[in-house]
Amino acid sequence: MSAILDIRGLTRTHGKGEQAVHALRGVDLSVAPGELVAVMGPSGSGKSTLLTCAGGLDQPTRGEVLVDGNDLVTLSRAGVAALRRRRIGYVFQDFNLIPALTAVENVALPLELDGTRSRTARKYAEAALQEVGIGELADRFPDDMSGGQRQRVAIARAIVGDRRLLLADEPTGALDSETGEAVLQLLRDRCDQHGIAGVLVTHEARHAAWADRVVYLRDGVLVGQAGPLADPDQLLQGSH
């Protein structure tokens, strides 16, 4: 099956000349339908940059980012925006929920922005909340929820509708280990049951271990990986 996310030679440089920060240097990463990939690496190694480029929130300096066959680099801004509303779900570390909207309104928002009729959008949103296990909280405001519950709303918003790619930046950051585990279970199920491709950034090895494949970034370069798709010989040889 062809990859949902296909990143080739991704380079992202901030600034120019002496001051240039090379956040990513020639990263290749391909994620198949149903596959969950975890990205680990020290602080500043480029994990968030990789995710924002994959999600069309940031522009690469060089390289290609293909989502479902569309190159985000050459696509028009409107094209990228549409792809983001329809095909890409993004879970931000700080959740990014709108406090003035209830849970179900937050989740329905990307669909409504995309022109789905209000009642239909709400129906889908309710289903997504149901799926992440907080259907009964649909009419609560984010401020009246726990961190774990808000996180579930953010995930529901990222999976609502027909998303193909789910990107999550430290989605378990502030959660205790049981709740964090439940979030992983959720991401895992999305990939297993709906053939979504997932990329998860995490500092926690126990959470990364839920992924099919774990890749490591250091100084903007992928330095190794673990998982069934890794070629054992290659692991023993180290990178390159």
């Binding site: 279970q185 990364a208 271990a209 774990v214 490591y216 330095v223 190794g224 890794a230 990178s239």
Partner: protein, 190 residues
């Protein structure tokens, strides 16, 4: 067992006396693994028997230096390149391996750490898969699994921590600067 590989590592650059090996081994491992001179000679004798080292020169007082053989180099390289397995693990072996990788010039410490991290992550993934496949299994089995998961996780964190210490340490000038002939034929150098 690591004493054997530790001595091979220290012989990688040049022939040495037994007492020298003992001192350098202790220096490289921060004296966390004290050796007595008897252990050193017993180990050297076994290494010699296995063709991994040979006596190089003998002084008037009967002491001799030892040098590593080609077979010894091959053995050493594969030790550095092979992650320590979770089954047969004295945690110390890993610490010693990292300390020696740092002490011996020409070994890519980050690569050694990364291979270990990937190997430990792989077992963590396997344990997690077992756990997922057994959501309503027996509580005792569940707890055993969790304990293995936490142990693997701790090791990965410890590796992250070691790596940052090692990298900082590497930035400093070596304690005992050694002039040695470049030896680019070995596999460990990359």
């Amino acid at each position: 067992m690591s004493i054997k590989h530790g001595l091979l590592a220290l012989l990688r650059e040049e022939p040495k006396y037994g007492y020298q090996l003992r001192g350098e081994f202790e220096a490289a491992t921060g004296a966390t693994w004290p050796l007595n001179i008897g252990q050193v000679y017993t180990t050297l004798t076994r290494l010699e028997r296995d063709g991994l080292v040979r006596a190089a020169s003998t002084e008037a007082d009967g002491r001799s230096t030892y040098e590593i053989t080609e077979a010894g180099r091959t053995e050493l390289d594969s030790w550095f390149q092979t992650p320590v397995t979770r089954e047969s693990r004295p945690r110390d072996e890993l610490a010693i391996k990292l300390a020696l990788a740092l002490a011996v010039p020409g070994v890519d410490v980050s690569a050694v750490v990364q291979r270990q991290r990937s190997a430990t992550m792989q077992s963590l993934q396997e344990l997690t898969r077992l756990k997922r496949g057994d959501r309503d299994g027996e509580i005792s089995w569940r707890l055993v699994l969790e304990s293995m998961i936490f142990a693997a996780e701790a090791e990965i964190r410890w590796l992250d921590h070691c790596e940052s210490i090692l990298l900082r340490h590497r930035g400093r000038p070596a304690k005992q600067p050694q002039v040695h002939e470049a030896d680019d034929t070995t596999e460990v150098t990359r």
